[in-house]
């Protein structure tokens, strides 16, 4: 087939084991080398923003967590905070701590799932078997706390929906001990693995000079050695009272992003330990909010952002004085990564590296098209 240096066009996805979700990348290939790439999304478009306009605030609350499947909690937090901004609700200190705990647990879960995906993309299947199991242990705690396994629907405008079960913090602390004891194993088998290093170093290098201007977020920035994190730069909840570091790594390649995430797992465990220690004993978990169909937002708009496991998750929300939200626009972390950055990074890479690069950028299609 390959004659006269003609380009061959193939679709990488949507039905492909090496794609991060239901999306596709259209590639122009010269031999094994990629000469052009275009991202196609829309396979998961559900019209969330339209549906939210039709629903009252309390009804819309259940739908926002579906925007990002691997870690729904930053969405709930964003939605709740935007509504609280517009309705002037101040939540209690205890609710804030519980929210931080849920967000960090969700971050840990997402990072463990990422580890499975990243190692699977280069053929290291064993790590996925372990890390998905470890994530499941976190989900078990979520089941106990929120009553849901993946979609928790727990962070609610005005606080959180349920009180902590008896002995929950002890069990969380035990789980953290277990997860911490597993980390050297992951280091040995995955992060120090010479085959991973050989594959990952120097692949998918992001230009650090234009990273800030082009609006990259999360591990892509931190993998270039730029220390940016919404939790530190624009603190929400009680993150300004907690002691943690933002891990960074030089290089901007797949390996750097992996090492940043490795550091983040440790920092998340550290934050959770502090939350367990500092959790206020009493306090209202739920402020009194108006009933369904009487909960109205003033005519105003706001912009909130939360650090998810893949970067900044931002919502724009406008109320119009009725019980329905006029507009809620979502900007997920992978919108820019999936289009502008991915299309640029894939040029002159090999076909076999596509899955690895996509995984390390943390591209998640449901939040790109909503």
């Amino acid at each position: 087939m390959q004659t006269n240096n003609e380009l061959i066009k193939i679709f990488h996805g949507p039905q492909h084991p090496g794609i991060t979700g239901n999306m596709s990348v259209e590639l122009d290939l010269l031999g094994e080398t990629i000469k052009g790439a275009r991202t196609h999304v829309g396979y998961l478009h559900r019209g969330f923003e339209k549906l939210i306009e039709r629903r009252t605030i309390i009804q819309a609350f259940t739908i926002v967590c579906r925007i990002c499947v691997p870690e729904p909690d930053p969405n709930e937090e964003n939605f709740a905070r935007a509504v609280e901004n517009l309705a002037d609700i101040e939540i209690s200190q205890r609710a804030k701590y519980i929210r931080v705990m849920v967000l960090e647990m969700a971050r840990l879960g997402a990072l463990f799932l990422w580890m499975g995906g990243q190692s699977g993309s280069i053929g290291l299947g064993t790590i996925g078997q372990w890390s998905v199991h470890d994530r499941d242990l976190i989900l078990d705690l979520f089941e106990e706390l929120t009553g849901g396994r993946v979609y928790h629907m727990y962070i609610y405008p005005g606080g959180v929906r349920r009180e902590l079960p008896n002995g929950f913090l002890d069990r969380l602390s035990q789980l953290l001990d277990y997860l911490e004891s597993r980390l050297p194993l992951y280091d040995n088998v995955f992060f120090d693995n010479s085959s991973f290093k050989k594959r990952a170093i120097g692949i998918g290098v992001v230009d650090a000079n234009e990273a800030l201007k082009n609006g990259y977020v999360g591990q892509v920035l931190r993998g270039c050695g730029i220390k940016r994190d919404v939790r530190k730069d624009n603190p929400y909840l009680v993150y300004d009272q907690l002691d943690f570091e933002i891990p960074t790594f030089e290089g901007g390649d797949v390996y750097a992003r992996a090492m940043v995430r490795r550091g983040e797992i440790r920092e998340s465990i550290k934050i959770l330990r502090q939350v367990i220690k500092q959790m206020p004993e009493d306090g209202l978990i739920m402020q009194k909010i108006p009933k369904h169909r009487k909960f109205k937002l003033k005519k105003d708009d706001t912009f909130v952002a939360t650090e998810s496991a893949r970067g900044e998750f931002a919502y724009y929300m406008a109320g119009d004085g009725t019980e329905k939200i006029r507009r809620m626009q979502v900007k997920g972390p992978s919108l820019i990564h999936g289009f502008t950055l991915l299309e640029k990074l894939l040029i002159d890479e090999e076909l076999s590296n596509v899955a690895m690069i996509m995984n390390s950028l943390g591209i998640c299609p449901p939040e790109m098209e909503r």
């Binding site: 380009l7 559900r46 549906l51 499975g116």
Partner: protein, 204 residues
């Protein structure tokens, strides 16, 4: 007052649903073997794809039951439609399904495939998957737990082993006009995604 799943109890009382055991010994053996080796197409179509890794890895390890993931439709027996289908996905699902070799089965996860689910008023998702492709097993949940997914597999194996129900692929073959007409109703005439080979012809 009836409790639980209402229509199911009607079906249980119905005489016609009794197991047909008119098949030959060889056919029975073939069905038994068939139920013990299920190759699942790795196509995560919707939300439910997030529960696939726990199901297929060490925690729930569905490989115990002979269920293995494969990469291409040509080797697969089972297609898991894991949740809502947008127009664009449904086209690819139909194409993948038509590429699979018989015998082939579909497992549909979650409320969205049954009656629209959360997205019942969304302009871009289909409401009843059954109208467009034949589904062999529906699993309850939003999304289903891995246990529920395994339950779906176990029940499907049981159906295959005991020839309890007409398989979906036979329905698709015999009532092809019905399915094609429904597909045409929402897609218009260009049902298949058009993969044009020329570079200038593309949008960009």
């Amino acid at each position: 007052m009836q409790e639980g799943f209402i229509d199911y109890q009607k079906v249980l009382n119905n005489e016609e649903h009794a197991i047909k055991s008119t098949q030959s010994v060889i056919q029975k053996a073939v069905d038994w073997f068939r139920s013990k080796s299920m190759f699942v197409l790795a196509y995560g179509t919707g939300c439910g794809a997030i529960e696939m890794p726990p199901t297929f890895t060490s925690r729930y390890d569905i490989e115990r039951l002979g269920v293995v993931g494969v990469a291409t439709p040509r080797q697969a027996d089972i297609l898991i439609v894991s949740g809502y289908c947008s127009y664009k996905t449904l086209k690819r699902v139909i194409r993948s399904y038509e590429q699979m070799n018989e015998p082939k089965f579909i497992i549909a996860l979650g409320s969205c495939t049954i009656n629209g689910g959360m997205y019942w008023d969304s302009y871009n998702t289909i409401k009843r998957l059954e109208d467009y492709i034949p589904v062999d097993m529906f699993v309850n949940g939003c999304m289903p737990r891995p246990e529920a997914l395994i339950e779906g597999f176990v029940k499907l194996q049981d159906n295959i082993k005991n020839a309890k129900k007409e398989a979906g692929y036979i329905k698709y073959r015999e009532n092809n006009e019905f399915y094609k007409a429904n597909q045409k109703k929402i897609f218009g005439d260009n049902i298949e995604p058009s993969y044009e080979a020329n570079f200038e012809g593309m949008n960009r």
